[in-house]
């Protein structure tokens, strides 16, 4: 696991750990990375309120399919299932991150993209957590927004 340190880091790591143990049935977020494919599938949610933030999750295509297969208990998930799985994971992460921020705030519906979520230069990456699930790297990033939302690349 790799972590970019910030005041929120410990909380975000705890949030990812909780998701890993509850939904992904993983004992921890550590372990060797077997899947070395690039992160080419992403999902993101936006938190709007006194603090505007994007929470994103990126992983490889192979990992995205494996996650959907695991969560749906199907051998071959459809492309829609893969998007749904990443979207729901980031939705849960976003909801938990939202609880750390001052309110009232709202959480957008998740969006999924092929590629990674990019941000303008004025936006600050708060936390980067590189976790591992079943040999796949899964990167969770929180970004404080200035004005504009995220865009896919």
């Amino acid at each position: 696991m790799t972590v970019l340190d910030s005041p929120m880091t410990d909380d975000v790591v705890a949030i990812v750990e909780e998701l890993w143990t509850s939904f992904l049935e993983a004992d921890d977020m550590f372990g060797p990375v077997v899947d070395t494919d690039p992160d080419d599938r992403s999902a993101a949610v936006t938190i709007s309120g006194p603090v505007n933030m994007v929470v994103s999750l990126s992983t490889s295509e192979q990992a995205a399919i494996a996650l959907a297969s695991f969560l749906l208990q199907v051998e071959v998930p459809s492309p829609a299932d893969v998007s749904d799985a990443l979207g729901e994971l980031v939705n849960v992460l976003g909801g938990s991150v939202k609880s750390l921020l001052p309110g009232p705030s709202s959480l957008s519906l998740p969006v999924t993209v092929n590629g990674t979520v990019t941000h303008s230069a004025s936006e600050t990456a708060d936390t980067v957590v590189e976790a591992v699930w079943s040999g796949h790297r899964v990167t969770v990033v929180t970004h404080t927004l200035s004005q504009e939302g995220p865009s896919g690349s």
């Binding site: 143990t21 909801g95 938990s96 519906l109």
Partner: protein
């Protein structure tokens, strides 16, 4: 016992289904509040609804409000299962008529504990 699972995510509906089916619940799924209301207006009278908050078309709060406005559905138990964690929103949902509130992510045991509190499963299923 019949449970109506209302969530726009097929993944989440699948996770919830795997928790409640072994408890002898019959399961019906809906992708949003409007679809759930259509199913109920079509004749399904569930014992329990597990309801996400943030959904397209009709969200979970509106669904709770609609169900509670119907006297013939007053015996339906409503449980929010959502990422919506703000205290004010939780109070709002409970005031609108939800019986219980569970935050995602959850463990199967957390769901079962809530169902036990609601009197929908016996203590023999508690771990």
């Amino acid at each position: 016992m019949h449970v109506l699972i209302i969530d726009d995510s097929r993944v989440m509906r699948s996770i919830l289904r795997r928790v409640v089916e072994p408890l002898a619940f019959e399961v019906t799924e809906a992708g949003d509040g409007r679809e759930a209301l259509d199913i109920m207006e079509g004749g399904l009278h569930p014992d329990l609804c597990l309801i996400d908050w943030n959904m397209p078309v009709m969200d979970g709060y509106e669904f709770v409000t609609q169900v509670r406005s119907r006297p013939d559905w007053r015996d339906v138990t409503l449980m929010m299962v959502t990422t919506e964690s703000e205290h004010g929103q939780i109070v709002r949902a409970l005031a609108a008529g939800a019986h219980e509130y569970l935050l995602k992510p959850f463990t199967p045991d957390a769901i079962i504990d809530k169902l036990n509190l609601l009197g929908l499963v016996g203590t023999e299923v508690l771990s």
